[in-house]
């Protein structure tokens, strides 16, 4: 029984790992379908709660796999689901990055580096807009973003200090 559930977790998350192009957002609907409709591990409301936590928590949003694994089969389920969602994609990235390292200094690699840079810049700004939109950013959030941008651009302020200060500030605002 428990073995079947563990196997089910692996069979759901390992293939999705290979399909998680673009950081995992693309596979969230499929995770919902598999865990709620196909396997009945969670209710819709449970899935929505776990999704909200995975978005608010540090770390990749695909760590929702850990929360689902925990729900299905306890700590072992959480560990197994996490391995299943990260190991297959990591093997692919490792192979690609190894080729990358072996070809240091080659004309092709220099062209790839120079060619990827503008695409990366476009994606960085697109990512910022996407996060703001997903968070339904209000004036306070936009102001926070502006202040954080300026602080991080013009000073060498420690990242953790900044996030901590923002959290304290929001707690204070909430308390008033």
């Amino acid at each position: 029984m428990a073995d079947n559930r563990l196997l089910g977790l692996a069979l759901v998350f390992a293939p999705l790992s290979i399909l998680s192009f673009g950081g995992g957002q693309a596979i969230v609907p499929e995770i919902q379908h598999q865990s709620v409709v196909v396997h009945g591990w969670l209710s819709d409301a449970q899935f929505t709660d776990l999704f909200a936590i995975s978005r608010a928590a540090p770390g990749p949003s695909t760590l929702i796999a850990a929360l689902i694994g925990w729900q299905v089969a306890g700590l072992l389920g959480a560990v197994l689901a996490t391995l299943a969602i990260y190991v297959p994609s990591s093997v692919v990235v490792y192979a690609a990055a190894s080729w990358w390292q072996r070809n240091e200094g080659s004309l092709v690699r220099r062209a790839i580096e120079r060619g990827l840079a503008p695409v990366a810049v476009g994606l960085i700004f697109a990512g910022a807009v996407t996060v703001l939109r997903a968070a339904h950013a209000d004036a306070l959030a936009l102001a926070t973003t502006a202040v954080a941008t300026a602080a991080l651009y013009f000073t060498k302020v420690n990242s953790y200090t900044l996030v901590g200060l923002v959290a304290l500030f929001y707690l204070a605002v909430q308390a008033i």
Binding site: S17, I18, G22, G23, A26, D49, L50, A52, I53, A56, A57, P58, G59, P60, S61, L63, W70, S89, S90, V93, Y94, S98, W100, R102, G105, L107, I112, E113, R114, L116, A117, P118, V119, A120, V121, G122, L123, I124, A126, A128, V129, T130, V131, L132, L140, A141, T145, A148, T149, L152, Y153, K156, S159, Y160, L162, V163, V166, A167, F169, Q174
Partner: protein, 196 residues
């Protein structure tokens, strides 16, 4: 496998210790709020410590975003591999995932008890907003270093508009933009090598 990387004729950068590597990624693993992981990694690995230069980081970042897998895990794997080979990759990924794994299970338990409180959402929203600030600060820094030519800035702007504003799916967009951009860069590199 890992020994193959030794025969590069470029001098290796000063070797980064495995413990400092683990330490940096353990902290990054607890701090990557709101999808801004690349910005925090850039700040810790490139801006503050100089372990990688901008170009090496950016190319790794794009590889991490294009290939399957969570961006934080992929970028950790890439940085670890660049700095210390296979062992470094494993250590960086563990550092990135294990704290977040622990935190998310604790949050999952807490959320069942306190998730209905509006203050929880409010504070997390503020932390995500500062994460976007980190993304923008990094974007401005790297955008300023793009070559000012006829190709790089238009590609960056086009990718931003199509993915960020028009919200086209990222993968097909990138599959078109990357060959175009690399092909152009290859022609430029070859031209520079041949003395124009």
């Amino acid at each position: 496998m890992t020994a193959e990387t030794r025969d590069s004729d470029a001098p290796p950068p000063a070797k980064v210790g495995l413990l400092p590597l683990l330490g940096v990624f353990l902290r990054l693993g607890t701090m990557t709020f709101g999808g801004s992981v690349q910005a925090w990694v850039h700040r810790e690995v490139v801006a503050r410590r100089g372990w990688l230069d901008d170009q090496a980081f950016l190319s790794g970042l794009t590889v991490a975003q294009v290939l399957p897998g969570a961006n934080p895990v992929n970028i950790a794997l890439y940085v670890g591999l660049q700095l210390r080979g296979g062992v470094g990759a494993a250590i960086a990924v563990l550092g990135m995932v294990v704290p977040a794994f622990g935190v998310i299970l604790v949050l999952g338990a807490l959320y069942r008890n306190y998730g209905h409180l509006p203050a929880v959402h409010f504070v997390l929203g503020g932390m995500a907003a500062s994460g976007v600030g980190a993304t923008l600060a990094m974007g401005i820094k790297v955008a300023r270093r793009l070559p000012r030519n006829l190709m790089a800035p238009p590609i960056a702007v086009a990718v931003f508009i199509v993915v960020g504003v028009l919200r086209w799916p990222m993968v097909p967009v990138v599959l078109v933009a990357i060959p175009l951009s690399i092909g152009w860069a290859f022609i430029m590199e070859r031209g520079a090598k041949d003395g124009r």
